[in-house]
Amino acid sequence: MKVYFDNNATTPLHPDVKKEMIAAMEMFGNPSSMHSYGREARANVENARRQVADFIGATEKEIVFVGSGSEANNTVLSLFVCGSSQCIPGSKMRSSIITTKIEHPCVLETSECLAHRGVRVKYLDVDQYGKIDLDQLAGMLGDDVGLVSIMMANNEIGTLQDIETIAEMVHASGALMHTDAVQAVGKVPVDVRSLGVDFLTISAHKIYGPKGIGALFVKKGVPYCPLIRGGHQELGRRAGTENTLGILGLAKAVEMRALEMPGEEDRLLELKNILRNGIENSIDDIHFNGHPTDSLASTLNVSFSGVEGEAILLYLDLEGIAVSTGSACASGSLDPSHVLLATGVDAELAHGSIRFSMGRQTTRQEVDYVLNVLPKIIERIRNMSTAYIKGGLHAASR
């Protein structure tokens, strides 16, 4: 049996999105061209823009199509460092930003880079469930802070932040609010007006759309500066000929999400509870990561004491089950998940963490299959683990 439980990494293309994109492959015109080929492409791109805008409660002009969620996040953070006198936000923005310790690397590494370019970056801590502390935020906000960037749903542990309350606080202090909603849009209701955000990041491939396309919501009237220059596309906000195929795929993906989201969260939550209870009842010495209730219904992150995550991942792969891990060994670095460490999880448990992320295609049979296979794998790895020799430790020579 093949089980894909890594939907937070990426999702399979929705069959209807695939159909739409196959049809769109015939449409090759450049949306900037004035002839009929161009006008056809333009009409479809603008229609797609309306669909994406509608899906998150924005207006069409507030949607900028970009190449990825990472590009959208880089664009927002980079508003700060433009030293050009031509650039309105660059010269007028306050000089500090606030973000969290559990953001995606595209926010954290860009923030680090900004710090080297003179921007003061303040990092919010999170509690054991991955929630930020609103009092700490209140203490950090001040007339020096220009932007606050906080992800709506965490990709590793699924924890949701209260963006609405956060945005209110941020605006009261005179700063702008960005949320990376890549893991939230299409999974939980997202309305930019009720959230009150100035910038919001969307990615297509997390919601059964194609890779290489995302969208950035830029609230009308907020300062903006393009990351990619040299073209009038996207009203001068993102140069480069439009990825028409990707844009149409993204629009179809949100259209399908609007149809399929009702009821899906309850269904996934039920499956997550079955998975969670099943793991809890069949495996000892485990630790669930993330918020018990305020979390994505699709995401379950669990640490297995005394076993290393890459070994679990690969043994599961041999059984046809695809998951991801917060272990250092799987990442190519020597550090385990920064998100789990930020929640105060011990490094050993971070190395032994596995993320199960389900999706629209996930079935009860798949959950049962995982519950059948997983306990044997954990037992097998623990049988060969030094962490499970108690008496033996005393005999060791060091």
Partner: protein, 203 residues
């Protein structure tokens, strides 16, 4: 389109991961003549090696292990346990991580550090055997290896530099003058730098 490629690992490594050899069953190590353990759980790798020794010939007759770690850590201890059987204590003591990696059919660069603990644990087990058998004089310190031939800088010098605060190749050069002549040792020195940073500071 291409099918899913194989893992980043060789077939040999995959085989030792899927069917590890000589895992120590249970917790009892009393039946063994030497026990060695290296690494720690916080870093994500820990290996324990236990050996039985033919005391007359000083030959390893059995080697079993436990490993907490990733696929390459598990496989490298497994293959090491096969390699040492029948070797004299002295031969086994000089098995290098490179030999282990080669026996596995090579390791991806970022996985080299996962395989260096097995031979260390084995050396600890051999030293443990000598200590238990009243042969303290035979207890050997870790092998010293010259990394930078031009400046005669050893792996121990690199380890000391890391312990004293060097975190980058540049800082390592500042402290040891390593790699400041021909520069050919840069790659090896960088691997050791990362390894010692990992072992001592978990970074």
């Amino acid at each position: 389109m291409l099918q899913a490629g194989d893992w980043a690992y060789s077939e040999t490594l995959k085989e030792h991961f899927m069917n590890p050899k000589n895992i120590l069953q249970g917790e009892d190590t009393d039946a063994f003549d030497g026990v060695g353990m290296e690494g720690n759980l916080q870093c994500g790798d820990q290996m324990m090696v236990v050996i039985k020794v033919d005391k007359e010939k000083e030959v390893i007759t059995d080697c079993q292990w436990k490993t907490y770690g990733c696929a390459s850590a598990i496989a490298s201890t497994s293959i090491l346990s096969e390699m040492v059987k029948g070797r004299t204590l002295d031969q086994a003591f000089h098995i290098s991580p490179k030999e282990v990696a080669e026996a596995l059919g090579g390791l991806p660069d970022h996985k080299i550090h996962c395989s260096v603990l097995g031979d260390k644990a084995l050396r600890a087990a051999i030293n443990n055997y000598y200590t238990r058998n009243g042969q303290e004089d035979k207890v050997k310190q870790e092998q010293v290896k010259v990394i930078c031939q031009c400046m005669s800088i050893t792996d121990h010098d690199i380890e000391d530099a890391v312990l004293e605060g060097a975190r980058t190749y540049f800082e390592l050069q500042e402290r040891t003058k390593l790699g400041t002549v021909c520069g050919q040792c840069k790659d090896e020195a960088e691997v050791l730098l990362e390894k010692f940073k990992h072992i001592h500071f978990g970074v």
